[in-house]
């Protein structure tokens, strides 16, 4: 198992382990700092599962519906998406540039009894190494990268022919400024101020163009809308703020 080996490499210092444990606890505490992400997680997981199952002809009701699929989660953080997908049978690689995040994710996966291949890496490094995946996930990442076009193209290289790439991000509209920046950061304090820079948000047509440049064509898109009364996220047609896009690479 890759996990044990890389774990040994990064945890030489007990103080470090304690720090990563605290970080893992923070990532995985559904009532703590990451609560907004935990509330958001089911709706995006459901979308990801349903698109993958529809594409590969799997039964989304089956508890091993992702069996045998190799999935890369770019910008995996503490592993909030990697673990559920691994539990559904996928063979998951999670990468994040933050070493602390990866250490925390590893610790948690071990406690959960899941074998997930976590690496401190950027997408380009895996692309350079010629890695290939059945599903590539870039969730809430493109709005943070330096060059969207380049990032998407390098990711696209890793998508096998006939395979999928799913991107979740924030649209650049007045509404997203009001909700994602003013609302989420300044009013609700869901996210630390400065988490997002509105000018870096990506409009769907820009994303579509970047995907097309990488040889991927969009097959599905959906908006995700927050209902403050039910404190619940739902899929919907409104792509003005949060949205997800699924693209495939032709053979």
């Amino acid at each position: 198992m890759v996990k044990a080996e890389s774990y040994a490499k990064t945890t030489v210092d007990p103080a470090e382990v304690a720090r990563f444990t605290a970080l893992a606890d923070q990532w995985w505490d559904p009532r703590g700092k990451m609560r907004p992400l935990h509330r958001f997680n089911p709706v995006r997981l459901a979308y990801i599962r349903d698109r993958i199952c529809a594409h590969f002809g799997r039964d989304p009701k089956s508890l091993d519906c992702l069996q045998g699929l190799r999935i890369l989660d770019v910008g995996c953080g503490g592993g909030l998406v990697c673990e559920p997908l691994a539990r559904l049978g996928a063979s998951v690689v999670g990468i994040d540039p933050g070493a602390a995040n990866i250490a925390a994710a590893r610790l948690h996966a071990e406690k959960s009894g899941l074998a997930i291949d976590y690496r401190v890496a950027a997408a380009e490094e895996l692309a350079d190494a010629g890695e290939r995946f059945d599903v590539l996930l870039a969730l809430e990442v493109v709005e943070h990268v330096a060059d969207v076009g380049l990032f998407v193209r390098r990711c696209a290289e890793m998508v096998k022919p006939g395979a999928l790439m799913i991107v979740a991000t924030l649209n650049r509209t007045l509404k997203s400024f009001a909700l994602a920046i003013v609302g989420a950061e300044y009013v609700l304090r869901w996210l630390p101020v400065g988490t997002h820079r509105w000018e870096k948000f990506v409009a769907p047509d820009e994303l579509e163009a970047a995907l097309a440049a990488g040889g991927l064509s969009v097959v599905d898109e959906t908006g995700v809308v927050y209902n403050p009364f039910a404190d619940e996220w739902r899929r919907g047609d409104d792509m003005d703020v949060n949205y997800l896009v699924t693209a495939t690479k032709s053979y």
Partner: protein
Amino acid sequence: MSERAEVLIAGGGVAGLALASALGRALGPSFAIAISDPALASPPPADDRVSAIAAGARRLLRSVGAWQRLNEAQPIREMVITDSWLENVVRPEFLSFEGEIAEGEPFAHLVENRALNRALREVAAEAGVRLLATTVEEFEIEREAIEGRLSDGTRVRARLLVAADGARSKLRGQAGIATVSWSYGQLGMVATIAHEREHQGRAEEHFLPGGPFAILPLVGKRCSIVWTEPEAEAERLLRLPAAAFHDELERRFGLKLGEIEVVSKPSAHRIEFSMARRFVADRLALLGDAAHVVHPIAGQGLNLGLRDAAALAECITDAARLGLDPGAPDVLERYERWRRFDTLTMGIATDGLNRLFSNRSDALRFVRDVGLGIVDRLPALKDFFVGEAAGLTGEVPKLLKGEAL
């Protein structure tokens, strides 16, 4: 010894078994479910009690495969409610329901609790649920799991512990969940009556000053009665010689069905109201009577438990199919939000009914009779009450709509 399960259910009553069966069928053998109750060591004990299974609950029982195993289920074809005093010769009917909520679907059936329990045990076992004949004594919460300690020394580590251990739930106490409860000072006497003539599937509820007197048709020329009186009066009645008891019974039962005979020794049950302040805690969910005990005036106790089971099964299934933790706070909060309103409405409604009817006030009698008369004359309102009694209003869990999870 330590075992693992995704969900550990404490209490093998109807609600707990229904939840186990629904989960077993929806999620398959890779999702380990254990249900623990010392009563599972032997066949369900003799029990006179019958339950009116409302349409929604019946759909759940059918979708888990238990309904098909019941040999005897008496449909309620008609329900009549009267408001009267014992000395009234004629009891005016203020409210009557034709008993179908949809074509060919009676709004309720009467089923013997024992037969229902037996059928549910069979389907649970077939769905791969582990039946453990022991008690969950206590639990310990960890961050990622909850460990149940069983009376035989076994420990079961689970993602979620469901306390379906009845009105006096020990696990609810350990979780520190308080209840709001009171006693009605009434006893419900339950007995099976044989009678001369066919009952035609007609259920009756007579609101007498001492408390409601219900006649519930069973298969054949038999009925189950639930006869509610203030405690002292009920105790006096139960001490009467058989012939005198028979006379008292006949005064209430009436003569419409001809000669009657008590075929089982009446049993007495204390009538209470109890509502847990919360339905969930860390990695723990309350189910059925552990969460709420309502006045049996509308026959809703068991149905509420089955509605809990339908909602919780759906919350757990949705989470498990996303690879998420079925014991996570979000999952449990969804269950609590889903059930609280319905349960509270029913609790208040049944409490209110009992307070409204169990008295000899002329003024209240006038108010309630006008009220019931209005309900009887307004089809839409009546449909609402029938729908509510059938468990089919609000956002309805899939299993209660007869849909698969």
